[in-house]
């Protein structure tokens, strides 16, 4: 029975993986159908995620956390808006709420990133005073000066240096990393396809 419990999910996963692979290569309709099913399951998982979020914050709300209360109210309000949109009592309620609340908040946080990066760079220099940190600071300074308004003579020099660093060192290093990641991806995918890695069966 235990063997069956392990082998059925493995046979399903390996079978679906191979069918999708062959489908994407030779029978696109089959590959598309299987990836659509996967997308549908992912959408259902999103629903599970929202229920998890609600359950965690309901628990915290009962312990007196006001922010969790705010989150629970927000989820319920958006759900109510989605219902009124669906029954055509309102029009575009969810997207309006998203545009007025979620999008500006995301944008505000994203704009703070530059300060976080500045602090992190400073902290790196404090933590590791070695050649690599100096190289980081010098590179960051050159790149910043290369994209700043400077007198023509200086902007030409820094602009060229900045382009050289980006194209040669950053571009080269990035391609190396991406090739490594692709190879790692292939290795993990092969392990899943052959049933050697079973993230679905603990």
């Amino acid at each position: 029975m235990r063997n069956l419990r392990r082998s059925v999910p493995m046979a399903l996963a390996v079978g679906c993986g191979l069918l999708t692979l062959l489908g994407l290569m030779f029978i696109p309709e089959l590959g598309d159908a299987l990836t659509t099913w996967a997308s549908f399951l992912a959408a259902m998982a999103l629903l599970v995620g929202v229920v998890n979020l609600l359950s965690v914050h309901m628990r915290r709300l009962l312990k007196g956390n006001a922010y969790s209360g705010l989150l629970v109210i927000s989820i319920l309000a958006i759900f109510a808006l989605a219902l009124t949109d669906f029954f055509e009592l309102t029009t575009g309620g969810v997207s309006t709420a998203f545009g007025l609340v979620q999008a500006p908040l995301e944008a505000a946080m994203a704009s703070l990133l530059v300060f976080f990066l500045l602090f992190a760079g400073f902290r790196l220099f404090r933590r590791q005073r070695n050649g690599w940190s100096v190289l980081f600071i010098v590179t960051a300074t050159v790149i910043l000066l290369g994209s700043t308004l400077l007198p023509e003579a200086l902007s030409g020099i820094f602009g060229q240096a900045s382009r050289f660093l980006s194209d040669v060192f950053v571009g080269g290093g990035m391609r190396g990393l991406l090739i490594g990641i692709s190879i790692g991806t292939i290795a993990v995918a092969l392990r899943v396809l052959t049933g050697s890695a079973r993230p679905y069966d603990k």
Partner: protein, 251 residues
């Protein structure tokens, strides 16, 4: 995809699978694999031990890449690291507070934690709320805000993040830094990799993330997979050199 494109890919896959089985056989028959020490995995092992000793849990984020997309191998590698951390931590009742930005990963992380509790014989202590979903995949800053809150609450002693992240990583690592926490960061995203290096020297960059199984669990097929990666890397380097030579000579 036409037959001329598909056939070579299929042949390459079959050759790679054959190589993987042959290398696994070699490892099983006693041929050892030398793994170079990686700071990130050394720190991860230390954090697991520290968490059990001090009774203070860790925050473990498995990222935001779903299991049905092209980044799923990154998430599978992250789940493998979570299995490792959860094994001892759940037995000692200091489960890793796990966060994710994807529903499929939430289910997989819950499964991983449940399995760790089962192995420890503490099924009744498991709660699905140990793994938390924070925000949808396309809302990175919301995910960062939620994760920062968890890191700042004072319930965890260290911050471990392995998986797919983006620029939002800077916000979370800053929060952990303010809490004076040890951090281990691993990602396959170029932006996140650069930010991780700024935050800590215990990093797993790019392909190192995919080696989590071999470094943390050491099963023969996982070690063989590392050897396969090395072979493919040598082939890629040879291909690049030959193409460059060809370009320089022929033009």
């Amino acid at each position: 995809m036409d037959l001329f494109t598909s056939a070579p890919i299929l042949i390459l896959i079959i050759v790679c699978v054959g190589l993987l089985y042959w290398l696994s056989y070699r490892v099983r028959s006693g041929r050892g694999v030398n793994l170079r020490p990686l700071n990130g995995y050394i720190a991860l092992k230390a954090q697991r031990a520290k968490s059990v000793e001090t009774g203070r849990g860790v925050h473990f984020s498995v990222g935001r890449a779903n299991l049905s997309g092209s980044s799923s191998p990154t998430s599978i590698a992250a789940l493998s690291a979570l299995d490792y951390i959860a094994a001892d931590a759940c037995a000692s009742d200091v489960p890793p507070l796990t966060t994710t930005g994807d529903g499929t990963l939430l289910l997989a992380a819950q499964d991983s934690l449940r399995a760790a509790y089962n192995v420890a014989g503490r099924q009744h202590d498991y709660s699905p709320r140990i793994a938390q979903y924070l925000a949808a995949e396309n809302q990175p800053m919301t995910f960062a805000a939620g994760t920062s809150d968890i890191v700042n609450r004072g319930e965890v002693g260290s911050n471990l993040m392995i998986g797919r992240f983006g620029a939002e990583l800077a916000i979370v690592t800053e929060s952990a830094e303010r809490g004076d926490m040890e951090q281990v960061i691993g990602s396959d995203d170029p932006t996140a990799m650069a930010l991780a290096v700024l935050a800590t020297d215990k990093v797993l960059l790019g392909e190192e993330v995919f080696a989590s199984g071999a470094y943390l669990h050491g099963e023969p097929v996982q070690l063989a997979s590392i050897q396969l990666q090395d072979i493919l890397r040598v082939l890629a380097i040879a291909g690049i050199l030959l193409a460059t030579l060809f370009y320089l000579v022929v033009g």
